[in-house]
Subunit: 369 residues, 2 copies
Amino acid sequence: MAKVNPHFQRIQREIIFPVIEKKMEGKKNLVNLGIGDVALPLTPHISQAIKDATTEMTNRPIGYGPAAGYSFLRSALSEKHNVPAGEIFISDGINSDLAGIQELFDTSCKIGVIDPGYPVFGDTNIMAGRDITLLPCTLENNFIPQPPSCHLDLIYLCSPGNPTGVAMTTSDLEKWIDYAKEEKALIIFDAAYNSFITSDNVPKSIYDIPGAKSVAIEMHSFSKSHGFTGLRCAYSIVPHETGLNAMWQMRQNTKYNGCPYIVQKGALAALTCLDSKRQVQSYLECAQMLKNALGNEIFGGKDSPYLWWKVPEDMTSWQFFDLLLDEHNIVSIPGLGFGKSGEGYVRLSAFTTKPEVEKALQRLNVYAH
Amino acid sequence: MAKVNPHFQRIQREIIFPVIEKKMEGKKNLVNLGIGDVALPLTPHISQAIKDATTEMTNRPIGYGPAAGYSFLRSALSEKHNVPAGEIFISDGINSDLAGIQELFDTSCKIGVIDPGYPVFGDTNIMAGRDITLLPCTLENNFIPQPPSCHLDLIYLCSPGNPTGVAMTTSDLEKWIDYAKEEKALIIFDAAYNSFITSDNVPKSIYDIPGAKSVAIEMHSFSKSHGFTGLRCAYSIVPHETGLNAMWQMRQNTKYNGCPYIVQKGALAALTCLDSKRQVQSYLECAQMLKNALGNEIFGGKDSPYLWWKVPEDMTSWQFFDLLLDEHNIVSIPGLGFGKSGEGYVRLSAFTTKPEVEKALQRLNVYAH
């Protein structure tokens, strides 16, 4: 057989979701605070837009759209973000964009990824043969990644952070913009959770920092902000100032045929959907309930649907996960699943409903502060 | 700025569609026999399934699905193709699968691609730093690629072929299976147009050839068979016998979050949609009308919606394209756009309607045989 890519074998991370599902098997009456997926149904406003677009497809042939997305959606997002429409690229998911962006770079590039973090940041670079430098987000630095003393070419940041739920302030981001300019590096900024930001000093976009457009690509998603995890729509902002806009267009033209017409019509409707905003608000209230009840050893949850809970002394994140599952019928995610600096924590997700949170808190009252 | 991937610059192919669109600008009353896109609207049966699935999403939260696709669709396709459901991977387009598959292999692998052919075969390998060997499909070999005397690791075949419209017979494919076994190579078999096959001796699947499951990955699409170019759904069959099934699963789990639920429900409905079959039949009739009228110098079109038309002596494919456009108001595609062995031909697409073909034939009567 043709020689396979040897770097796939270097992915040593335990694939945790199948393990978690196995542990959940046969258990009844669980409260699932594990996965970051929609807990509320699609809003009628978005649904109607999708159905109308589907009807349109039966009235006239609607085939291939532009790889970068329809101009109706690019224009609307251009207005929302105050960037040229040509800098916006629609896709089927932020995961796809995060996975694909490293293809624009040489295999020799030095990569920095937050730890703990979303696995695709590091794994896709490892698969492409690169080594990665971990940027620890721990209690010592208040879970905020700090620019390292070494050189990096590409840096993956996420704010509000997944899994920690902690968001970077203006001054946190300024440090990274300075670093990127100094080192001629590029920041890949994962802003998937920015609709959950409530703090005044937390920017919703890295482009709020002067000069960021020349050193940062920002990625957004409809998944968490508008309940699109099952519909699949996201977008990346690739500023002309990065010098990479034409290259990303070429990559997308070659490898991608565009997001479905009906999904892009749904995304357009989502931008003006008040029910979507109410859903985000509801998830934030769930986060607040958990945070208020569970006390000082819980981080995040203010600008994010995620809470990062320190496990009791002398326990690993898997042990605490097992305890929560076996003793309290609560599903969490062991922090180790997000990288080695995730050890010592579990992630709780507020993508749930208030009755479920109340049930969870009754079961967890031993941890109440 | 971080060092960019130097291989992107090696893509020398002229991006023809923008050039063609520019030439079309301002012209009235064109008959478009250029692009291979749907000319008939979505069938009501498929549309209804998508709307029902959208309603379902408003009744209960439906979020992330499996990266490889929902079991309802994998099972149905498993039955259709008589392969295990675990060998079927649903995606958002055959383009995505064709672009991604090379990631499983070492950068040293020797790549063979048909010429003329679908650009993504070669371009994605060039972008990954590999050199490619062209497998010419010319009048001399009746447009059927032949196994070369040199070693190849990965071979991209497409039958019925795009752009030539010529399909490989059982004995043509047997030669390639023998070659792949001898050379321990893998065949990527693009079967996107197999629903157009009418000839008895043309297999609809490479797996009809004994032993093919250990040396071939077969890719299918709903685009041309069920009018899904704007909806985006496709699938790859990755047999366990190739040793690559787990690796592709890992690639998809890492880089892809699955095809939208509503699109997969539409694809399930498509499998039993009689109107889809009628649409394919209608396109085939358009192909037959063109073939019958335009005579001996036209190839393909029997098992394919594409016709490969030899241009008059002393003309290039771009010159004949210009002549057809300027003198006859007919849009074609110059063969050179599909690779250097495409020079001397234009592609006509039968993704159109009979009234349009009749209009075209009146204009082209000077070429009638």
